[in-house]
């Protein structure tokens, strides 16, 4: 695998790694990090999603379902939790962690704070990068979906049943807007025929800024995106075990 990864990376890169003073890898458990490790190149990593640094087992299990060998290699090399000695800096949302991140290696990065602190024109430019126009909606609440099936945590049928039960339970009677996870392929228009859908693909961290009038509540099972939304919405975390069957 090491030789395959190196060949693929060398085909892709039109320059040498030594051309760079610093390399930042977001999603350090994917292949590119193996190329860096094979070449002894130090790098900085972004955590995969808010709080995910403290939940390496979630990333491991998701990868293991489709690529067991890759998952083992990534775990052995400390790529899920940033423990590899070649990872010199870990950029993460510190308040979302359940482990000690006080060492100098860990650098706090809060997308929510960063967006709040940006001057309005800069923030607008950043938002327009993902979304051309503001969203007009009459919904009371947003449902952030998750990609349980594509992570191998359940079958697509089970995921569909999970959201059908949620529709008939806690969300019954709510005017809803569905914000689908970018990697979630389920047909939510079929499950929630009366709900509005957000078609554009953008990070949920931008939700506070994309509406003409924003809904008050965000529902999700345990989407990592919620860690960056709590100051802007009432976030309701739904217990998955109540609706799984």
């Amino acid at each position: 695998m090491r030789a395959d990864v190196c060949r693929a990376a060398e085909r892709l890169l039109p320059y040498a790694l030594t051309d760079f003073s610093q390399i930042y890898v977001a999603g350090a458990h994917f292949y590119f990090s193996l190329y860096l490790l094979a070449n002894g190149v130090p790098f900085a990593m972004f955590e995969d999603a808010a709080g995910m640094l403290s939940r390496p087992e979630v990333l491991y299990e998701a990868l293991r379902v489709q690529y067991p060998q890759h998952a083992e290699i990534a775990r052995r090399h400390g790529l899920f939790d940033g423990e590899n000695p070649l990872i010199r800096q870990v950029i993460c949302l510190k308040e979302a962690q359940r482990r000690d991140v006080s060492a100098a290696k860990y650098r706090n990065f809060s997308v929510e704070d960063a967006l709040e602190q940006l001057p309005e024109p800069k923030r607008r430019r950043l938002i327009r990068f993902f979304l051309r126009r503001r969203i007009r909606t009459g919904a009371q609440a947003i449902l952030l979906t998750q990609r349980f099936a594509s992570l191998g945590m359940m079958s697509e049928q089970q995921q569909q049943r999970l959201y059908e039960r949620l529709r008939d339970g806690e969300l019954k009677g709510q005017r809803l807007l569905i914000k689908r996870h970018p990697d979630d392929t389920l047909d939510y228009a079929a499950i929630f025929p009366d709900a509005e859908q957000i078609r554009a693909v953008f990070p949920s961290e931008l939700l506070p800024y994309v509406f003409i009038r924003k809904p008050a509540v965000v529902y999700s099972f345990d989407s990592t995106g919620c860690a960056n939304l709590r100051r802007h919405f009432t976030v309701k975390t739904v217990r998955r075990e109540l609706y799984a069957g």
Partner: protein, 66 residues
Amino acid sequence: MPDNRVLLIVNSVYHLLTAVHMRHTLLADADADLIITDVTPQLRDCLPRVQETGLFNRVLFAAVQR
């Protein structure tokens, strides 16, 4: 090794947001290149917009999905 020339690799829209934001802040003075992978297939749609912004010297797309 050149001073302040950085390479960023992103695999999701959250990563891309972080990278674009860092380009405006922590890495504002850096000379930065970006690699976007197809781990999140929809990221390919963002490629022309990333290139249009001129935020990164070079933007590469990497097909890594088997």
